[in-house]
């Protein structure tokens, strides 16, 4: 009897807790797109259907457990078949399922229509960062997590957007249909922003598409959701949705920056400039594997005191620009600019007591890229 009470109390508490938790933000976000709201309402509909079925089934179950206790002198019946009941409890669930399948099918049909896009963005997953390319604008950049390691190790207080901050968020205009083309350079990643209800795998060698029409300006955060190796947890997605005019301004700025950088390729760069730029690039792109102090870890070779790298500058350039197949070393010629590649190589050849004094000019890299 006490056990029964405990059962019923436990069940009751959890049934009360569930809606309470859902109401307090521990639920799927409603999101800021038409699709995300459709999905949310599908989710809540199925949830309540399950709750109702659960309540009915468990009510019968607990009533039986309570009413037919042997300690209360219950005598067992002997029935073990009842065709009508069996037909009913097969047919009714079937009908409920059809009822669920109809709206789900309709929503899915809407999700599978990427036609008429205003803007195409190519999203490329790399271990462990995202690369975005605005297809018709000639703007592209890499987006890596900007949460410092000191916060992860706990030496520093954790910020509000711990693990969900990036150096370069994906900027998108609101009320425009944005089509994403997703692919990967190495392993399978998955690009997810809950508020946008977009989750799609990025598969190496193949391209998937998905789309979004954001209705409200804001900053939306998500993460990589397919296990992609060591830093899978540190591969956030941040989307900054802006009004059209703001977006245009941002885009113009980005284009100007890219142009300035392209123009600066041909000039002779100073060691100090390259080192400064290189340190920044190294920190955002290379340090996750080769470590901030160049000491490497596990399968990632140390760069500090790496003789092969220091002896052979051409090999060093080849590895950074073209990557190494069969290893996590990506081809950065595609995702970093010539200036960035030159800067990071110069940095690697001179930081941490490497002191070769080599300066790699952006123009040399540009030549390799052309």
């Amino acid at each position: 009897m006490r056990a029964m009470l405990a059962w019923v109390t436990g069940m009751g508490v959890s049934w009360l807790l569930a809606p309470a938790a859902l109401a307090n933000g521990w639920n799927m976000p409603k999101g800021v797109t038409e699709i995300s709201r459709d999905i949310y309402s599908l989710h809540m509909t199925i949830f309540w259907i399950c709750v109702v079925i659960g309540v009915v089934v468990f009510a019968v179950m607990f009533y039986s457990l309570f009413r037919y206790r042997r300690s209360q002198g219950a005598k067992a019946d002997n029935f073990h078949e009842h065709t009508t009941v069996e037909v009913l409890w097969t047919t009714i669930p079937l009908l409920i399922l059809v009822g669920m399948a109809l709206p789900a099918t309709a929503t899915l049909q809407r999700m599978y229509d990427p036609s008429g896009a205003d803007l195409d963005v190519m999203v490329t997953g790399q271990q462990w960062r995202w690369h975005y390319e605005y297809m018709d604008e000639g703007v592209s950049f890499t987006s890596s997590m900007s949460t410092p390691t000191s916060q992860i190790s706990g030496e520093e207080a954790r910020g509000e957007n711990y693990l969900l901050d990036v150096d370069n968020p994906l900027v998108l205009p609101v009320d425009q249909k944005v089509r994403f083309l997703l692919t990967s350079d190495d392993v399978i990643h998955s690009w997810w922003v809950p508020e946008l209800a977009v989750k799609q795998d990025a598969v190496p060698g193949f391209v998937n598409e998905n789309w979004v029409r954001i209705e409200e300006p804001g900053i939306y955060r998500g993460q990589c959701t397919e296990l992609c190796g060591k830093d899978h947890a540190f591969m956030p997605v941040v989307v900054h949705a802006m009004e059209q005019d703001e977006y245009d301004e941002w885009l113009a700025e980005r284009k100007a920056e890219a142009e300035a950088e392209a123009n600066s390729v041909d000039r002779e760069w100073e060691m100090d400039e390259l080192m400064e730029r290189g340190e920044q690039v190294y920190g955002s792109v290379c340090a996750t594997c080769h470590q901030q102090d160049g000491s490497g870890s596990g399968q990632f070779p140390a760069l500090a005191g790496n003789d092969q790298m220091l002896d052979d500058v051409d090999w060093h350039k080849d590895v950074v620009v073209n990557g190494v197949s069969g290893t996590p070393m990506a081809a950065f010629g595609g995702s970093l600019s010539a200036v960035e590649v030159a800067a990071v190589i110069t940095y690697e050849r001179n930081a941490w007591d490497n002191d070769t004094g080599d300066v790699v000019q952006p123009s040399e890299i540009q030549e390799m890229l052309e």
Binding site: M61, S64, S190, F206
Partner: protein
């Protein structure tokens, strides 16, 4: 733990027996005399092999559990405190592999070895020597798998689903050993399945028709067919992986003209039936326990058999629901959504049948019954979240989050594992001749139920709020529920020590059990003495005249 089940020389039988004692001398001739370790190495007796399987599975359950606790300890609070991400990934991977292939499957095979010959009235399994071999493959396989933890580059770190190319091009050097150990474990399962099929189809007592078999036997028969159908597919997939890694083929490498998505199709073509391999025998156990303690025949025996068969057939038609976001045409998503939703029907039928069995019964709440009732409730909750996951648009949000982790742990922990525990409590009197300690059993039960729910219920919410799977560190908004989950995990883990205490106590002594240890139990195993002598049913029982009360 010294393997003590079953006793070599049962001293007392609560019911007079001749069969068991008369054959004790034969045993020694049978084994050529040796006692001690050699006897256990060479045994061909289904009861001893069953015990070996169960003890092996229990030790793997603890090893896999420790890995899970490492994971939960790291996730206790945000930040990286105890382990580095590389090691965390090895822990999640090994936890999954060990629990699936080392704990749950061998436990069911162990129960099958012990109980199927007793339930069908056979003297032993059909192929006793093969039985010994298939058991001893397991320690080899898992010794090899565990040894990868000490290899350079560490153990497999790509999840128990080992998706290519993370596991092929980017896997640690130990991947080849992982493939080898999985091959051995797979061969062991296959041999076990052949043996079970051969036993059920050929060794039934005269007069026992298929539709007279207890449901545990039925569900295992269907499970064995699933194993025969899908384990070779797993073997094929890992062979292809092996060739991709070592022999330059490119089945799964886009760069060589292969396709990483093909890996997922092949894996889940094995993997989804595999999920049912881990739950169908559990249905059988619960279908034995509920009628026993409700003292009423199982409601809808035939529809239970049909439902099991339907679930098995449907399991081959739904694999794509594990990969809804991988990028598939609309028609494929719809097809697999509909087939997946259909599974809810036979599964629902099973739950309704159990509940109706309780209705107008005469119910008592011994430990096996408690675990079975918890199974029904929590497996149903896992079924509900499964139904939610089947809805493709919603799955785009749930996929690869903690919501999925919550779902499959509800199906596998209070599902498969609770059923195994219930089965152990239920059959312990038959194995040892003693009832398990009811008081300790109740403590074990309540702490397990609380632990399981504290661990996995909050995961639904962290998943809905956006926490991805398989991450060693998480954003601050997930902190509260992760802390609860971790506390629950440690409670659940610790309470399993009580289980070990119950087992040891029960082997050593306790209240003597008669042949029919539970008042409402009707199956054939309760007609032999408790503890069951080493040799039973040497003269097959005649079932022609006995229409089991069940139908």
């Amino acid at each position: 733990m010294a393997p003590k089940l079953p006793p070599q020389h049962p001293l007392e039988h609560s019911t007079a027996t001749t069969a068991g004692q008369a054959h004790e001398h034969d045993d020694h001739h049978h084994y050529g005399g040796p006692g001690g370790i050699k006897r256990w190495l060479l045994t061909t007796n289904h009861k001893e092999i069953g015990s070996l399987y169960l003890i092996f599975s229990l030790s793997m359950f603890f090893i896999g559990g420790i890995f899970a606790l490492v994971v939960r300890a790291e996730l206790f609070q945000p930040g990286l405190q105890l382990v580095q991400p590389e090691f965390f990934n090895q822990m999640t991977t090994m936890h999954g592999l060990i629990m699936v292939f080392g704990a749950v499957m061998p436990a069911f095979v162990g129960l099958a070895n012990w109980m199927i010959p007793l339930q069908v009235g056979a003297p032993d399994m059909a192929l006793p020597r093969l039985n010994n071999f298939s058991f001893w493959l397991l320690p080899v396989a898992f010794g090899l798998l565990l040894s990868t933890l000490f290899m350079p580059g560490g153990a497999p770190n790509f999840g128990w689903t080992f998706y290519a190319p993370l596991s092929t091009d980017y896997g640690p050097p130990s991947t080849t050993f992982f493939i080898f150990s999985l091959h051995i474990a797979g061969i062991s399962s296959i041999l076990g399945a052949i043996n079970i099929i051969a036993t059920i189809l050929n060794m039934r007592a005269p007069g026992m028709r298929m539709m007279d078999m207890p449901l545990f036997v039925w569900t295992w028969l269907i499970t064995a067919f699933l194993l025969i159908a899908v384990m070779p597919v797993l073997a094929g997939v890992i062979t292809m992986m092996l060739m991709d890694i070592n022999f330059g083929t490119s089945f799964f490498d886009a760069g060589g003209g292969g396709d990483p998505v093909l890996f997922q199709h092949l894996f889940w073509f094995f993997g989804h039936p595999e999920v049912y391999i881990m739950i169908l025998p559990a249905f059988g156990i619960v279908s034995a326990i509920v009628p026993t303690f409700a003292r009423k025949p199982l409601f809808g025996y035939a529809s239970m058999v049909y439902a099991t068969a339907s679930i098995a057939i449907l399991s081959f038609l739904v694999w794509v629901h594990h990969m809804f976001v991988v990028g598939l045409p609309l028609a494929a998503e719809l097809f697999f959504m509909y087939t997946t939703m259909l599974i809810a029907v036979p599964t629902g039928v099973k739950v309704f049948n159990w509940v109706t069995t309780l209705f107008r019964g005469s119910i008592t709440f011994e430990t096996p019954m408690l675990f079975s009732l918890a199974f029904i409730v929590m497996f149903t909750i896992g079924g509900f979240s499964g139904l939610m996951l089947a809805i493709v648009p919603a799955d785009f949000q749930y996929h690869d989050t903690y919501f999925v982790v919550a779902h499959f742990h509800y199906v596998l922990v209070p599902g498969a594992i609770f059923a195994i525990i219930a089965g152990v409590y239920y059959w312990l009197p038959k194995w040892t001749g003693h009832y398990p300690d009811e008081r300790l059993g109740r403590w074990h039960f309540w702490l397990s139920v609380i632990g399981v729910n504290l661990t996995f219920f909050p995961m639904h919410f962290s998943g809905l709020a956006g926490m991805p799977r398989r991450i060693p560190d998480y954003a601050l908004q997930f902190a509260d529920f992760n802390m609860v989950s971790s506390l629950g995990g440690f409670l659940f883990g610790a309470s399993q020590l009580l289980f070990v205490a119950v087992l040891i106590k029960c082997v050593r002594g306790g209240e003597k059990a008669p042949a029919k240890a539970w008042e409402g139990a009707e199956d054939l195993e309760w007609s032999v003495p408790s503890p069951a002598p080493l040799h039973t049913f040497e003269t097959p029982p005649d079932m022609t005249s006995q229409a089991p009360q069940r139908h």
